[in-house]
Amino acid sequence: VDRRELVERAGRGDHDAFAMLATAAAARLDAAARLILRDPELARDAVQNALVRAWRDLPGLRDPDRFDAWLHRLLVNASLDEARRRKRRPVEVEIRTIHEPAAGDAIRHLADRDLVERALIRLDPEHRALVVLHYYLGYPLPDAATSLGISLPAAKSRLHRAMEGLRRSMTADAPGVPLEGGRLA
């Protein structure tokens, strides 16, 4: 089924069409929310809020081809809303013990991934949201800036600081192992 047609049908109240769109997008939405919030329950709430709002406001979407971008914007905003609410209650965040680098690409690869994950946790949600929009969902910076309601210069500056933060955290966490291009040497 043509995706544009699905969006148009959903916009006219066809819930089956919306369910198909939501099913196709759900995995990515859930993953993005988990990346931003680092909490599966909060991520679930964010995805729910984003999809409910998407269904409610879909008749107002002018360009069906922009459905994905629009949905991702709703998701990021819902995630940041959840993050703000989370500030009012403590959340246990699992920080796993880093794997010691050892011989073998697989173990080194795991250790490298752990470094990135630990570094991501140390970013605040706004920075994580930009990293997720840009590096996970693949949006150009102007689109990511629009989604976050910030200017392009601010987005660029924020992304620069996020990447610096990731690099610093990964350098600090790598136990005596120098980083080359961000990867365990």
Partner: protein, 440 residues
């Protein structure tokens, strides 16, 4: 969706790791949400007036305000006509500041026109190509491929700078536009895993390379002066992106944006000879900077989007005289900035803050009057602006998706028309393109 050509291994690594960490899978709770939406009602279409009027909410609000003002104004006029004081002295009327685009020719520059203006060096298909008037594009015969997707031609059109030397030890190299006189001018060693930027001074006396040296955070600024064949290295972690540093026209100073705290940055100016730095603008939401050709001013952009209208500032290199000379509307933001070669105009990329992201070029004079608007363009993310040596056109480069800079550049005439530059296959450049003068 992450089919993005990421040239920086660190960014590529982050992308790959994030994909693994997130491990996208259909969530088990989706059916619950769909049951919830099935029980919910959609907002009726009439609740989205911007959909059927094809304008956004801000425009609607502006239109509503305009209608109210018109009705109110009409009522006042009627009241005045009916007033016993109608025969009094006329009220002085001031003309509004001219901010509307100037009307100019709409004849697009042909490729021949463009190349007659000057030489352009581009990275394409793994090599460096020179586009010249009346000639086919020529790929430079290099002993090793350039190490990065960056080639910058000097404003005088006589020299092309690039990073080369292979994987083991990247170095700053220069070559003449005919491929002759290839030389390595700095071999101190750059990090092969990170991206870089190149920028020439306006007088073509100096080329500046910014790139990580050791670790990703250990960035260096290498300043090479052509006349005395001397390179100076500044240990300064700046210049990762286009527009975040600017070389003074004589090559003796460098201005750069330094990150401070969240969404804040400062502008610092370094004296190359003494490697001393001073902060000239502190703690602002600074986007990009550009040094004026006469050396007297640094233009920079602040704000935009959620921070309100973006502002275009001028400040002297010593930090004095900081002032806003132009602002974007509340519905657009500024990015990219470039001075005309004669220093009389500033080109700024202006993008609408809506779902279209429509992008145009705003041309201001040196005191901030908008003299024209060029575009809109189809491209959504402009990477850089480069003025033609004679100031009659602007070269706009863009990234089609994230940091993959393979969208064909556009040449925009100041009359308002624009056309794609005819670049060789495999064009992909991460740095602003230089536009050097033609050599007869």
């Amino acid at each position: 969706m992450t089919t993005i050509d990421r040239f920086d291994p660190f960014e590529r690594r982050i992308t790959e790791a994030i994909e693994e960490i997130a491990a996208a899978r259909k969530p088990a709770y989706l059916d619950d949400i769909l049951q919830l939406t099935a029980r919910s009602r959609q907002r009726p279409r009439w609740a989205f007036p911007e959909r059927w009027t094809k304008v956004n909410r801000i425009s609607l609000a502006a239109a509503a305000v305009a209608i109210v003002l018109l009705v109110g104004g009409g009522a006042m006029v009627l009241t005045r006509f009916n007033s016993p004081n109608n025969g009094g002295p006329p009220t002085a009327v001031t003309s509004p500041t001219p901010t509307e685009p100037a009307v100019g020719t709409t004849t697009p520059p042909t490729q021949a026109d463009v190349f007659r203006i000057g030489r352009i060096a581009v990275f394409a298909g793994g090599g460096i190509w020179v586009l010249e008037p009346g000639k086919e594009p020529v790929e430079l015969p290099l002993d090793t491929p350039p190490a990065d997707r960056c080639a910058s031609i000097a404003p005088d059109g006589r020299t092309i700078a690039f990073l080369g030397g292979g994987e083991a030890a990247q170095s700053l190299r220069l070559v003449d536009p005919d491929g002759q006189n290839l030389r390595t001018v700095w071999a101190g060693g750059f990090n092969t895993q990170t991206s870089h930027q190149l920028q020439w001074s306006a007088d073509a006396s100096t080329v500046v390379a910014t790139k990580a040296a050791g670790g990703p955070l250990d960035r260096r600024v290498v300043v090479f002066t052509v006349a005395d064949a001397k390179a100076v290295v500044l240990d300064w972690s700046v210049g990762e992106f286009p527009g975040t540093f600017a070389v003074s026209p004589d090559g003796r100073r460098i201005a750069a944006i330094e990150a401070t705290e969240a969404d804040k940055a400062s502008i610092a100016v370094a004296e190359v000879a003494s490697d001393t730095r001073s902060t000239i603008v502190a703690e602002a939401n600074i986007g990009e900077i550009a040094w004026s050709p006469d050396g007297a001013s640094i233009a920079y952009i602040t704000g935009g989007g959620a921070q309100g209208p973006a502002d275009l500032h001028l400040v002297a290199p010593d930090g004095t005289g900081d002032r806003v000379i132009a602002s974007s509307g509340s519905t657009s933001v500024f990015s990219r900035i470039a001075w005309s070669p004669d220093g009389t105009r500033l080109a700024v990329m202006e993008s609408l803050v809506d779902e279209t992201g429509q992008t145009s070029l705003a041309i201001f004079d040196a005191i901030g009057n908008r003299v024209s608007t060029v575009g809109p363009f189809t491209m959504r993310w402009g990477l850089s602006l480069t003025w033609a040596p004679d100031g009659t056109a602007i070269l706009v480069t863009a990234g089609s998706n994230s940091i993959s800079f393979n969208e064909v550049p556009v040449v925009a005439s100041l009359g308002g028309a624009h056309e794609a530059l005819d670049v060789p296959a495999g064009y992909n450049a991460q740095c602003p393109l230089g536009w050097g003068a033609s050599i007869p």
